[in-house]
């Protein structure tokens, strides 16, 4: 006998459990099938229905009943095919007949653990609320005693330094005939320092990103440097660097990342003798703000031939970087030796710095680095950072907001008098609500020397669908409907690398102007206002106290 549960469909989820509900308009749909073809998760499918229809023809009502076959678009309630709300269907629909609608009362997380496997996804922390960064305001406006500057006319130097800065009392200088010169007999190591634009492109790997996306970013960065004169640098992420780029002069705009999987490093190390330029820096990844405690993860479906060759691995295998660098067993090992080794590989000509996820323990790393004269910076990635693949629980619940983390680290350096020696790079949620320049300026005034951005770039240059309502967020599956985070040529051909590059240039040019629009009224133009905390206010006393800035309401 058929169990009752099957007969009454009790085993199925109702559509109300799902995070997005498809609104399909029967009367507008011409049944072209484009929506079902484009859906990356097969959340909708064509279906055939037999319906009883009452109709009447002629001048007088003479209703009659017929049974008719109907073709419809139906939403699937299988949890593995739940609509992600990406909206690709709405984008391709010629008649505005379909769109997903967010369902705030969904119970998605109750079910998204089939097979005993936790929910994995890409994207960002699903927290749509306004972040601390967006609550900070710039309230010290120069007025009559100190006229504000004109952002359009004054000369501005929106630049920062990446690299270890020598303490002023240890400069190897001697005076000769009223001029200071380098004391050649002093064997003090002078660390490499780069002057860069204070907004950097954070680490996103070849592999996590599709070829046109990565290529578009790299082209845009080269254009910004060589044509626009904006020294923007970009981090490669873990996973190697295309061989031609390694041997090109454009390598100087790249920060090469090494992480716990060391993917691609055999190829990078072997390319060193052939490099015509040093990279901008080396970033050692110890942690990522979006998924603290997790290593990198490139799912097998994204490991195609190109990626496999760059990374030096077989095709179609999961590439998991361990959560920590497995060969290291203490902070001194993990940090000091790694920095030393990387510095040595490039003859101490390249700044080497670690990146950690935002954490209450950031200051212990900081203090370790402050004592290490080879550490070039510390990058701290807050909880609002993004990732290509991680457990949902890591993304949503692990991590530390960047604002107070960067502030306490900066103030710790101030106490030691080393705030200018070890630059802090802030990341994680910069531009979360689109306020890129304002968030960057706020972090700089809290003490960051530079900021790193990732998600913002995906959105602004390639129209990433993702948002904090768990929209899309399927970067891990290789099915990115925009062609940003996929290695499938059928998908990434949707993305034009030239357009990505053009948008990147526009984004940075606009950010440069907006930074000036912030700094000009505050009377700052010559040096980046790092730690100019008297310029900031917030309308929350607790935040003001925590960040040691003023309260304004």
């Amino acid at each position: 006998m058929e169990p009752a549960s099957k007969l009454d469909q009790n085993h199925r989820l109702s559509i109300k459990e799902l995070p997005y509900i498809i609104r399909w308009k029967d009367h507008r749909c011409k049944r072209c099938g484009q929506c079902t073809a484009v859906c990356p998760v097969r959340a909708i499918e064509p279906s055939v229905k037999l319906r009883r229809v009452v109709f009447s023809e002629g001048p007088l009502p003479e209703p009659s009943v017929v049974r008719k076959i109907y073709h419809v678009i139906e939403q699937v309630t299988d949890i593995d095919r739940a609509c992600t709300g990406c909206g690709a269907c709405a984008l391709v629909c010629p008649n505005d007949a379909i769109e997903p609608e967010y369902n705030p009362s969904n119970k998605f997380l109750h079910y998204k653990n089939k097979g005993g496997e936790g929910y994995k996804r890409g994207g960002r922390r699903n927290d749509p609320y306004i972040s601390t960064l967006d609550r900070l305001k710039f309230t010290r406006i120069s007025m009559l005693t100190d006229p504000a500057l004109d952002a359009g006319r004054h000369e501005f130097r929106v630049r920062t330094l990446l690299g270890r800065i020598l303490p002023s009392d240890e400069l190897p200088l001697i005076e000769k005939e009223g001029k200071l010169i380098i004391d050649e007999e002093n064997d003090r190591f002078i660390p490499p320092v780069r002057e860069i634009f204070p907004i950097m492109i954070g680490s996103m790997s070849v592999g996590a990103l599709s070829p046109p996306m990565w290529e578009g970013l790299a082209m845009g960065v080269a254009y910004l440097n060589e044509v626009e004169g904006l020294p923007v640098v970009m981090c490669t992420g873990e996973g190697g660097v295309p061989p031609r780029l390694l041997k090109s002069r454009f390598l100087k705009y790249m920060i090469i990342q090494i992480a716990s999987g060391y993917f691609g490093w055999d190829e990078i190390v072997h390319a060193i003798p052939h490099m015509v330029e040093d990279p901008a820096a080396i970033e050692i990844k110890y942690g990522q703000g979006a998924k603290p405690g997790d290593g990198g993860l490139l799912m097998a479906q994204k490991v195609l031939r190109l990626i496999a060759s760059i990374r030096g691995v077989p095709q179609f295998v999961d590439l998991a970087s361990p959560p920590t660098h497995q060969t290291k067993y203490s902070i001194e090992e993990a940090v000091a030796k790694m920095i030393q080794s990387m510095s040595m590989a490039w003859g101490f000509r390249v700044p080497v710095y670690p990146k950690i996820s935002g954490t209450k323990t950031a200051r212990s790393v900081l203090n370790n680095l402050a004592r290490n004269p080879y550490a070039a910076a510390l990058s701290i990635d807050g909880e609002d950072g993004g990732t290509g693949a991680a457990y949902n629980v890591s993304m949503d619940k692990m991590g530390h907001p960047i604002a107070s983390n960067i502030r306490e680290c900066y103030l710790d350096l101030v106490k030691q008098g080393k705030q200018n020696e070890l630059p802090l790079i802030a990341a994680g949620g910069v531009g979360k609500k689109g306020n890129l320049a304002a968030n960057a300026a706020a972090l700089i005034m809290l003490g960051a020397s530079a900021v790193s951005i990732g998600k913002y770039i995906m959105q602004a240059t390639a129209n990433c669908f993702g948002d904090e309502y768990n929209r899309c967020n399927i970067c891990n599956t290789g099915k990115c409907p925009r062609g940003i985070t996929t290695q499938d040529p059928k998908l990434y051909r949707r993305l034009d690398s030239d357009k990505v590059a053009e948008r990147l240039v526009e984004v940075f040019k606009a950010a440069n102007i907006e930074l000036k629009k912030i700094f000009a009224p505050m009377g700052r133009s010559t040096e980046l206002p790092i730690g100019m905390s008297d310029g900031l206010s917030v309308d929350d006393k607790a935040i003001a106290d925590r960040l040691e800035i003023s309260y304004a309401c």
Binding site: R140, S142, T145, D146, P147, L149, H154, E155, R157, L161, I165, L166, P167, S168, D169, L171, L173, E175, G178, K179, L180, I181, I182, I190, V193, E195, V414, K415, Q416, G417, K418, Q419, N420, M522, G523, R524, S525, T526, E527, P529, I530, G531, M532, S533, D534
Partner: protein, 369 residues
Amino acid sequence: MCRLSAITSNKYFSPMENILALETMKEGHDGSGLGLTLKDLGGHFEKLKTYPILSGICSKSGAKILDDYMETAGFKLKDIWAPKIRNVKGITQRDHYFARIYDYPASFKHKSLSEKEDLLMNVRISLRKLGESDGSIFVFSFYPDTLTLKEVGDPLQVAEFFSLDCDNLKAKIIFAQGRQNTNYAIYLYACHPFFIQGYCTMTNGENTAFVPIREFLTGRKFPGYIGYNSDSEVFTHILHYTVRQLGFPLTYYKDVITPLKESEIEKRQDSKALKLIKQSLRPLCIDGPNVVIGFIPDGTCFMVHDSKKLRPGVVGGVKGKYALMSEECGLDSAIPKRDKSKDIFPMKYDMVIIKPQAEEVIIWNQLQN
């Protein structure tokens, strides 16, 4: 905007010359204070040049504390000078305005100047701390051949209050500032000029980079880098740090507070050193708009601007007497008989340096070094 009046001469002159110059620039200050620093003193002090002078103000109870402290510290009082106070409407008289001339403690008599300077500064700081909470003691400088007077009020009235017009107080270098209060409270310790171990500056304009500069200076762990009741005090400490602590020639003060662009640095002969200085002292970039007038222990005076100072100060005079003023009318008042066509309005790359005894004026250009 505060008004600045500095005069350097090879002959002793009265601070009234500075005050009258300030009076011509009156529309620019609001009477929220007058500060005077005199160096290379004449008159009463001419024969006491090697002895440190403690300048300040104290209450009756403060005087007792001060005496006890100085006695315990081993300083012997050699002489006291005090201005003759007149009643002037609007200025509240405090108990004691003083310049007390001391002899060093026996154990310090043969120590190096640097050690003596540290001793004097530490004593000044201790006295400041003793009297700061209740306002019983204000000490402005403690250094040989240097005297400081400060009081809240209109400069001309304060001069009358101190009877500077009929006193024999004279010096070869006198700095005076008529204060326009900006962001910070009207307070004696906020009044320019600021002095530390022979280095002195006064400033006008507002220092937008004040907080990061202050944090950098306090991070040097040098006991004298305290105070900061005015954002301008950092200019004095940057000068002290650059020249005394780091041992850089004076012109590098300009390179520290108004650093060149990378492309401009490349053209300098000392570009390698300059690059390192720019990086290591990045937080000391003042990012103005400011004009800074200062002197260093050997009596060299200077004026610098940053590029945003739209109305530059002016330097002019005759051999043997030069004035550094925030306004041209102040210069006309101080040294009317001069060749006005030779007045110098320093541009953004310039540092105007006047050698001791007002012998010559040098315009040092930051680009050409």
